[in-house]
Symmetry: C2
Subunit: 378 residues, 2 copies
């Protein structure tokens, strides 16, 4: 399997980290991305510029490959299904991508498979939402193409109605939750399943992006066992081959609910590059190449801070404070090969380790204060 | 410093691992290697085929770069000196490379700097050796171009004389030693110095290549402190900027002697990619970019096995047993992007970790038995 010709749809930061992990095994990787300056461009053994959503482009890209994977869900699934019919291995499977691409179908899948998730109502347009004012407060989620906090609006009362989407979506009951958690699961074609330790996410109050996370999550052991079990059951319900990142709510009543999933490496697993015996990226290769899954053992507590473009700056990126970070014990910045910064653009992340959980949190605060992505040139 | 244009002379496996570490910081790396299919070829942001020993090639390669480093000592130092005079940063410094390139000068350097090393006699040719039969048993070492066990012969008596080199070399007293150790030291331009934990090397009895190593070495704490101190003093004596791998003998009397040094990442530090907070490769970048050095903290005991081409096989490499390795907890194979195997060619290495040192050694035996690099096609 190591000599397979492998394609990745998408050449962003997740692709970049997949490529870095692939160096160890000489994997022959071909990357397709619409951006001629995508993060993967300079590092990929083969890079092709082209649309991920165009049938013909994706189909032709796959012709000379044995295995195709994704680092973003928004791809032409029809082309992947055609390739699958011709005998190519497509992991995650096109059927799984299709299920997950549409949050409406994804939610229904949880119900059908007895997987816990918050109550919801499907809506076809904005007017539809008006008929469910009693269901608020709720999150209105766009069925398709939501990403990184886009495509989600919190509606508290009728006054928020203009924020509702005028496209097919769903209203998800806003459950008062204690914490947001995530578990990354890997499953290979033989059906072997492995989970990474549960992480606890802290969101930026304004931009709905993960601001930082800790691993392991500070939760009761029984809660952790429940989170791990639900994540595992979800991966098995999808029969996914590859990684599945399962985002969870821990309610104030101690219940675990599935928020949403992503069928690929995930922001909530970047820290595994430094902190775990096997990173999520290596684990993804193991899963889709049907190799034995690696140990997810963590060498110690870790945290991960997203490095976002500073508000008010746009242009050639400069990383103010990098040297301060590099001078701090077990602080590991990772930059995404993006020349241009924009407000809140994901420009990199920083993994932080410390054997003491309190010292770890102090380091997180220090890191957040110490670095800024700015621009003095445009 | 992170936006510098950086060149590496040499695109072999050490270059490959330097490139992999450079992904984290978006380093703009240009690689020069005589082999159009060098391990770095497909991964390097920029790759140029060309001789490392030709003045004009090296000089021109350096023209558009800010910083130049090496992954092999056998390079045109005159060209590097010319580039240095023009204001390029060359790390390790050309003067250091020149000193180390010639084992005769290297040995004299230890004497001059009060660094412990085995007694030696300089020889100009084979006839010269005949005049020093009383000094045997000794190792006859070629002054220049020895590498990976080539350029070293053990002479026990006059009968071995035909094995002596008929070129400038040195006779080094064969000291009965207990163990061979290595310490990798990093020093940045600001003079900051950091050492990696001492490793213990086990050599292949026949081929004089490192067969495997353990870290930390199983030696008394006082011996370890002495090894670390000598390594540090050696790096400071050279005033090197970059990595210095210091190979040491521990004699039966408990004395530490310098065997030889390499001014670059080294075979005895591959395990640091998996086992230490900062790998030797990242540390090399930190040192030559004059960044703060990283923590060399080890997450646990580790071992490293060189993966050599099986005797009797030559042709397209196949890795028999990879899946067995990947199914073993905390066993991490790393392959070198070499299409063709040859007997004893370095094709990769395997890092092995275990919190228990005895379990670790058992895993080493298992790994050595489980994998072979063979060829069924040529």
């Amino acid at each position: 399997m190591l000599s397979s010709r492998i394609g990745i749809l998408g050449g962003g930061q997740l692709g970049l980290m997949l490529l870095q992990a692939a160096v160890d095994w000489n994997l022959d990787i071909h990357v397709l991305d619409p951006d001629a300056d995508a993060p993967c461009k300079k590092i990929a053994p083969y890079f092709q510029q082209g649309s991920l959503q165009d049938y013909q482009t994706v189909y032709e890209f796959g012709q000379n490959l044995d295995i195709i994977t994704i680092e973003i869900e928004k791809v032409n699934v029809d082309a992947l299904e055609a390739l699958e019919k011709e005998g190519k291995l497509i992991y995650p499977q096109p059927s799984v991508i299709r299920l997950i691409q549409d949050k409406r179908i994804q939610k229904q899948f949880y119900l059908d498979n007895d997987l816990p998730t918050a109550p919801f109502i499907l809506t076809e347009n904005r007017a539809d939402v008006l008929g469910h004012i009693a269901f608020l407060p709720a999150f209105h989620k766009l069925g398709k193409d939501g990403y990184d906090g886009r495509g989600v609006q919190r509606l508290t009362s009728e006054a928020d109605l203009d924020k509702a989407f005028d496209k097919p979506g769903l209203l998800e009951k806003a459950i008062p939750f204690e914490k947001e958690l995530a578990v990354i699961v890997a499953r290979n074609a033989s059906g072997e399943v492995a989970t990474f330790p549960t992480v606890e996410m802290v969101f930026h109050p304004e931009h709905n992006l993960v601001e930082y996370l800790f691993a392991p999550a500070e939760i009761a052991q029984s809660t952790d066992a429940k989170a791990q079990e639900i994540a595992r059951k979800t991966a098995e319900a999808f029969q996914i081959v590859g990684l599945l990142a399962v985002e969870l709510f821990l309610t104030k009543e101690g219940e675990i609910l599935i928020n949403e999933v992503a069928p690929r490496p995930h922001n909530s697993g970047h820290h595994t590059i430094r902190a775990n015996a096997t990173s999520q990226y290596e684990q993804h290769w193991r899963a889709i190449l049907n190799l034995p899954l690696g140990s997810t053992y963590a060498y110690g507590p870790s945290a991960m801070v997203n490095l976002l473009g500073e508000d008010g700056f746009q242009g050639l990126a400069e990383y103010e404070g990098m040297e301060t970070l590099l001078a701090t014990e077990q602080v590991f910045p990772f930059l995404y090969w993006k020349a241009i910064t924009r407000p809140f653009r994901k420009m990199g992340h920083i993994t932080i380790m410390d054997s003491d959980i309190n010292a770890l949190k102090e380091k997180v605060d220090f890191v957040k204060k110490s670095i800024r992505v700015i621009s003095t040139k445009s």
